[in-house]
Symmetry: C2
Subunit: 339 residues, 2 copies
Amino acid sequence: MKLATLRNGTRDGRLVVVSSDLTRAVAVPEIAPTLLDAIERWSVVEAPLRAKAAQLAAGAAAGAAAGAAAGASAGSEIIAFDAASAMAPLPRCYQWLDGSTFANHGALMESAFDMGIKNEYEQFPLVYQGASDDFLGPCEDVCLPSEADNMDFEGEVAVIVDEVPMGTSREAAGRHIKLLMLVNDISLRGFAAREMKTGFGWVQAKPSTAFSPVAVTPDELGEAWRDGRVHLSLEVERSGAWFGHPHGSEMTFNFFRLIEHTAYSRTLRAGTILGSGTMSNASRSAGSACIAERRAIEMLDQGAVKTPFMRFGERVRLQMRDAAGRSIFGAIDQEYVKS
Amino acid sequence: MKLATLRNGTRDGRLVVVSSDLTRAVAVPEIAPTLLDAIERWSVVEAPLRAKAAQLAAGAAAGAAAGAAAGASAGSEIIAFDAASAMAPLPRCYQWLDGSTFANHGALMESAFDMGIKNEYEQFPLVYQGASDDFLGPCEDVCLPSEADNMDFEGEVAVIVDEVPMGTSREAAGRHIKLLMLVNDISLRGFAAREMKTGFGWVQAKPSTAFSPVAVTPDELGEAWRDGRVHLSLEVERSGAWFGHPHGSEMTFNFFRLIEHTAYSRTLRAGTILGSGTMSNASRSAGSACIAERRAIEMLDQGAVKTPFMRFGERVRLQMRDAAGRSIFGAIDQEYVKS
């Protein structure tokens, strides 16, 4: 099942069920007006939402006209799905925790720039608390104050959980994962080093975060969702050019351990989003999912950084395809512009 | 005007206007069902909420019976206000940013324990992003997994803002501050050093945060609210014994600068809470608003720490009085218990 949130003038938008091929959608106000409401009542709304998705799929099988008729008989209009009109699946939520679970990325950054970060990667996943009040839709402009702040992107996958009680173990964590998304964890590298050195984590370095057009239930990934990891490559393009295609299998700490770690001393309320951090592979041929990492590789392999950070007018595009080449989440496709 | 949120079985509770002496309250469903809703429509709801507060005050002036009659004529029942039945004024919100704006506290911690933190206090306020999905009411138990994690409290003041556009200056920040509260920033010191060294900030070290029974508009503080600071002492008691009474005037970075700093690269949506961080004064006679600081002082002045962290069964009480000795926010009064 795929879910999206369409703009309707409210802060939380309007929940729609989206067809698996991302072409059509149907609103479900009789089930749940918003995704935030749906995730809080997931055990109640999942079955009717899946029934709606099945109706939508059946309509597709019978052709567009029949699909429209099926929609009409269910009291809902089937509309064309346009990623450009989508907000983030959760346009805001109550908690956004972003990991750095691909140890390869941290090791590269540390080797190249010696940020002074001390973390025992073997024991503890790195996680920071992000702002969750103001997420960007997949095609919304990234409005930022200055190129001098060293604007970057970070390609990630993320999960949305229902309520995770304090003390939940990694073994019990999987059942709380209800949806997956892609993320552009927009970053201002000009502030990263100073803020990390304070020990307090990032504030100015982390503007609003963007998410993919749809959030999908784990079954939509088939065998690619296993062991708490997404075993697929993320396609990363910068202004139309290949930038990387890191694979999710090299995630050092999986989502189960990320949940266990973050729920140690507090309950994660329904709708909490947990991110993987920048996807990163040991092989240089995989490229990178953020500019900072490419610069680290240049520093290590060539002795100097060459790749500039984002300029206003540049774009980033993030997408993930299944084995048959079909886009799973739709594409994040954003232009960086001056605020 | 004083506002509180009472338990009603929902996650966001029920908004009530509370009398200035904290004895009586009246629900205002016809104006706003929740404080989260009210802060998002503050420009619309402030006047009717103040009118309700004035009615409540007039009822008080005429005595309890007349007050009840005035309430009935307005279509709302006046009830006794009991802090123990209060949730946090915002039981959850979309963003919680907690500063460390009393430089004296940071200097003591650094001198005593050399946490390796590098921050230019002259230039930048320290801020971390906290979890905002699950706040505690003023009298709710602090449920935590283990005494071995070194349980602490931190006494602070906080503000609630309406929407703060990206790029708001310190000069323009004050008009966005709509409400003030007290905070118990519950902390697990056993994780603090390791998490700070990662540079990613605190996750396990910061369980759910607790807030005072009421949030108040700045005018309730009179002359004590000026220059973006609360010029009053916070009374801190541990299990019935005096622990400190630090004064707000020594706040190094005021709330205006905290807002400017955190809104540099993103919009702060309505309902964002910003905290002062542990209140702390240069004079040893002011005591401390957290155990960690007292231990730092012991280390510096006596060469060894003596004060233990919280044990299960112990309590913390935080309160702030006006010049006439009246409690402004009601008291945070919590027991630490095993989860």
